[in-house]
Each structure stands twice: as structure tokens, then as C-alpha cells.
Amino acid sequence: MNDFKGQTLSWQIVNGAIELALHRDPCNEIGSLTLDELEKFAAALSRLTDEAHALIIHSTLKAGFSAGADLRELFQRAQVMEKGAALRGVREFLERIHAVMNALDAAPLTTIAAVHGVTFGGGFELALVCDIIIADRMARFCFPELRLGLIPGFGGIPRLKRDLGNAVVRDLLLTGRSFNVMKAQQIGLVSQIAAEGEALRVARATASQVGKFDRRTAAAAKEFVKPIPYEELKREIDIFCDLYSRPAVEEGLRRFVENEGVQPYLP
């Protein structure tokens, strides 16, 4: 399946690069439907890899790359389930999304996140699995989970620790603040900054460049420089589930979901 057009995402191969486009309104919130389609993509990846040298993940929506986990779905499901069942559901969701993220992280091709606008929470974590992050000048990054009484659950902390200094990780995580591309490049997260609306074009040019090299060599280099912190990733799921079972989280989610004001994305 070289082409796929789903409800939340689509993919195709363009000039030797797989282009995975996210397009679930309003801002690519990652819920069960997106997870189903991401799993389809992960299952197709080994076949796609035979015909491509690079993967570009991008969003077709104006609001941004992704606002992260679908908190409304998370909250609403918890309301209709017994607590133990809700917790088991959360753990299962996390284990499934981790499997997808790990497959993307380890993919034997060069992966590029072309991000713009809101790149928050789970969306930020999706970008972090990629080898290279290319950001539009207006991109904004954030791990807001502590505002809800949680930690990032899609592999964010272990991957941020892999790529950045621990002091920076603590600042971003413990303040829950958002930051712009200049800061993101300064701390070593973003490789290239593109003009407004140009991230995908820059990503395509970068994909074209990496296609000039021997694929086996590129895959060996990637495996050498980009270890996957499997043990920490498992630990993250445990910590997330421990925190999730507390009443404070339900209240945090309720505040977010029921907030009809103009500032739900501001701390």
C-alpha cells in the first residue's frame, strides 16, 4: 500500500520520500482513530522502506503540526468507564502508541519532521522520534502535561533526554512553558528553520539530499548515533499510569475540556 488516504492522516511516496500528512481537525489531536491509522502506517513501513530513502511527517492544517493527545477523548472515555477499566485502557493506548513511535524511531531511513504552528505534547513527541526536525519560523513547542497533573506519555521525556541537556529538559518539563523556534534551535532541538509556510519545501530538499547517499551506510550511521531508550520508555508508561489514577488528573482534564474561555492553551 504505497498510498493511503485516511480520516486523520494520509501517505504517499514522492521522489523517493514517504510523505506522511496529518489532517485531523482542529489540530491533529491524537486519539484512537489517529492511533489506528498510525498503526496502519507502521505496519506498511517495512514495505514502503523498500521504495523510499526518507520519511517526511508534516501537517496540512493551518493551526499547526499537532496539539498532542486528544484530551477530550481521554476525559470522555474515563467518564463512562469504571476506574480500573479506564486505567487499563490508558495503558493499552500508551503501549500501542509507544510501539508506533519506536517503529518510527528505528526506521532504517532518514526521518524528517516538518513542523509549523502548534507542536505540543504528543505532537512534539511525534516530532522527537524523527532524525531531523525542520521548523517553520512560527512553530511553537511545549510539553504542557504537568498542567494536567501528568507527564508526557508518548515517549517525550526519554527522547528529549536523549537529544538535549538535562537542565534544558527540566526547564521545559517543569515549567510547562511553550517556546519558539529560535529557542528550539539554540538548545539543539531544531536543525533548520524555514520561512513561514516553507517547512515542507525545506524538508523535501533535505530528503533529496539524504537520498544521494548509500542507504545501508545511512541506516548504519543512524543506528550508531540514535540509540532508543527502551527501558526509560517503559518506565515512562508506568509513571504516567501511576499519576493518571489520581483524582487531580481528572480535575485537570475536566478544566481543560470544559474550558470555554479564550485561554485554554495558555498556562
Binding site: C27, A63, G64, G117, V118, R137, M138, R140, C142, T175, G176, R177, S178, F179, N180, M182, K183, V262, Q263, P264, Y265, L266, P267
Partner: protein, 82 residues
């Protein structure tokens, strides 16, 4: 080089907001609620924050904007970072 005055900072914020959100500059006043005057939500406010950070070459953590909704207070927050 000395920092610009608060009036200058405020004027630049109003000019940038008017230009980006296509509102006549003369309709904006320092004490306006920018969410209402510009008709923006929190995502657009983050967009405005990013543009202001680029314009003034500063970093302004969004938690400093908690509860801030008028241009004058916003200008004070930015001035403290110049």
C-alpha cells in the same frame, strides 16, 4: 544601546497586532482587551506571542501572560525582557 521606552514598545506592539490581524491601527488602544479587540483565541494569542518574540528578539515565557489581556500589561512584560 539603551532599551526603547515603554511607549515605543507599546506602539510597536499595537502596530504589529494591527498589521497581522488586519485591524485598523487607530482602533487599537493600550487598554483594550486584545482577545476581544482582535477577536483571537489562545492559539492565535500564541501566534501573536511568537511574532512579538521575533520582533523584539526576546524570549517571553507564556506563563508570564497568564491573566494578561490588555496591550499595556503585555508591553510591560515585554519591556522587562528588553
Amino acid at each position: 544601546m539603551s532599551a526603547p521606552t515603554i511607549d515605543h514598545t507599546l506602539d510597536e506592539i499595537l502596530g504589529l497586532a494591527a498589521s497581522h490581524f488586519k485591524v485598523p491601527r487607530e482602533k487599537l488602544t493600550p487598554d483594550d482587551d486584545f482577545f476581544k479587540t482582535l477577536g483571537i483565541d489562545s492559539l492565535q494569542a500564541l501566534d501573536l506571542l511568537t511574532r512579538l518574540e521575533h520582533h523584539f528578539a526576546i524570549e517571553l515565557p507564556d506563563y508570564e501572560l497568564q491573566g494578561v489581556s490588555d496591550f499595556r500589561t503585555l508591553a510591560n512584560r515585554i519591556q522587562a525582557r528588553l
